[in-house]
Amino acid sequence: MKDLFNTTLILNAIFVFSLGTTLAGALIAVLSTRLIRGVTGLAICCLGLSGQYYFLHSPFLALMEILIYIGAVCVTIVFAVMLVEPDEPANEEKRTPALEWGGAMLALTAGLFWALSRLVLGAGWTEPEAALKGSGAISAIGIHLLTTYSLAFELISLALLVAIIGALAIARSGRTKP
């Protein structure tokens, strides 16, 4: 029993650490003034999220989160930050309306968070029968992807192809102009 308690304690500590990483990353991503720090915050947030995916019994998605979000999305945004002007402009508009809007939005989003939290606490979540639970292992995901969800899988690949070609076409146009 003592051993079990210790294991739970350690797991809880790691989980709280991943929660804190996600929180801090999201706050950095939203509140920092320099854009490159915002991208770093997004990367930190995704690192924490991958820890939570691991705790949700999905090491595959934890790896995918790091691979796709940090490895692809954040790096692409860093490239964009390098190509266009990196910094948010100084606050040249009038202080008072900006502060008022910022305060209003802060109150609105805090209210949204409060309402969602009330909803989460108020609802009675039911667990399904344990006998019906399949396995969430990677092999099960692979079988699902190639049988039940094969059409969606192909459509996603098609969407990615269209996105790549479209991105090339859009970014290329106007390049020859002075």
């Binding site: 490239f79 948010e88 402009p89 939005m105 979540w125 019906l132 969430g136 699902h144 992807l145 146009s173």
Partner: protein, 107 residues
């Protein structure tokens, strides 16, 4: 005996709600297109975390949520590629990605 902290659905839902709120706040507050894109990614992450938590705790087959979140990640990557190429095109025309300056009409 209650479940440990990492085995409770509510914790994940709180986290997702926070990410959604932070994303919406950043979407309104940011003054450049790239900053708004970053905030949008936070909202994507909130949706993914919600789906994943529900699939872990309340759904019969835990593989379905993972596949769905995988699709969301793929679509998010495609969306980022498109959005960044649009930003590059906008930057070529306007020499800025500040939302305040992306106007042709007066006002």
């Amino acid at each position: 005996m209650t479940n440990p902290l990492y085995d409770q659905l509510q914790v994940y839902l709180f986290m997702a709600a926070f990410l959604l709120a932070a994303g919406i706040y950043g979407l309104v507050r940011r003054r450049t297109l790239i900053g708004m894109l970053i905030a949008g990614e936070l909202i994507f992450a909130a949706a993914s975390l919600n789906l994943m938590a529900f699939s872990r705790f309340t759904v019969k087959d835990p593989a379905v949520g993972q596949i769905f979140v995988l699709f969301i990640m793929g679509l998010a990557a495609a969306e980022v590629a498109i959005a960044l190429s649009v930003m590059l095109a906008v930057y070529r025309n306007y020499r800025s990605v500040t939302t305040k300056e992306l106007t042709d009409l007066k006002g």
